[in-house]
């Protein structure tokens, strides 16, 4: 297994929006090790992490980067901030955070034993209230 990561700027800001989705490959699970985010606008934000009730369809996905440049294997996991149909809001959240209306506020969640996500399953960040666009990064072991 190897470590892969990716950082993106989200765009969705409305209440109840799934702003970014981390998608496991068709034949590969991943272990989510770390999620970091900072808000990019002065908007009080509440954000949750969880598994969507239904994953997004036709995502515009970006493959994660290997943190070991000597590893030439392409990552199987990908991240998306837009879809033809967005994922749906998680029934329950693994994590949630409230951030003040200050650009640059953020949080880093780490999962020492990982959140293990099966192949074809996803994790999303949800704006629980109307929130700011965010800089988000994922770190996975796959």
């Amino acid at each position: 297994m190897a470590i892969f990561s990716l950082a993106q700027r989200t765009t969705a800001t409305t209440s109840g929006a799934q702003v970014i989705e981390l998608i496991a490959g068709a034949n590969n699970a991943y272990s989510l090790k770390e999620v970091g985010l900072t808000i990019a606008a002065a908007t009080a934000s509440v954000v949750g992490l969880g598994q969507p009730a239904a994953k997004g369809t036709t995502p515009t996905s970006v493959v994660l980067l290997a943190e070991d440049q000597g590893n030439t294997t392409t990552g199987a996991s990908s991240s998306a901030i837009s879809w033809s149909t967005a994922p749906t809001i998680p029934t329950n959240f693994s994590r949630r955070v409230s951030l003040p209306a200050t650009i640059g506020c953020g949080i880093v969640w780490t999962f020492p034993r990982g959140i293990n996500v099966l192949k074809t399953v996803t994790q999303v960040l949800t704006t629980i209230i109307a929130s700011s666009a965010m800089d988000v990064w994922w770190v996975v072991d796959e």
Binding site: A2, A40, Q69
Partner: protein
């Protein structure tokens, strides 16, 4: 491999979007593994900064090596071949994708904000291949009061 630490300051950093702050380059026969990167900006523009770290699409041509990181172990006699530069004859180009990105708060001439990024050894750190490059990049530099952005301090630990 030995552990090296680099702590340095960029005075009068770039005040433009799409610009490098510093670049680390590995030699032809040596890789490097970054385990810790701390960045602190003193004086922020009034709409903040967005920073990212990644591999540039094209490495820069660093002016003659500006910083040589000392080994953490005083008994280590091997100098690192890793080049760290904050000035270039040819600047690196923007990474296509970023490993990490973050936004700073808006600020003033006296405000200070930083981030501490860790790449645990249990996960092999952030590995830079031989003849490769790594940059801290200004993705966006927004607002006015550009003159506020006066200094940028870095601390980095890496194995090489």
């Amino acid at each position: 491999m030995a552990r090296y630490s680099a702590a340095f300051q960029v005075a009068s950093p770039s005040q433009n979007s799409g610009a490098p702050l510093f670049e680390l380059q590995t030699a032809a026969a040596d890789s490097a593994r970054i385990v810790d990167l701390n960045v602190i900006a003193t004086g922020l523009p009034n709409s903040g900064l967005t920073l990212g770290i990644g591999t540039p699409a094209t490495a820069g041509v660093i002016m003659p090596m500006q910083f040589t990181a000392p080994a953490n172990n005083g008994a280590e006699t091997r100098a690192t071949t890793v080049a760290i530069g904050t000035a270039w004859s040819t600047k690196p180009t923007a990474p296509t994708k970023f490993f990490r990105r973050l936004s700073t708060s808006i600020g003033s001439a006296t405000s200070t904000q930083g981030a501490f990024l860790n790449f645990p050894l249990t996960a092999n750190g952030l590995w830079i291949a031989p003849s490769s490059s790594f940059v801290l990049w200004i993705v966006t530099f927004a607002g006015t009061n550009y003159a506020n952005f006066t200094t940028f301090d870095f601390h980095m630990e890496f194995d090489a």
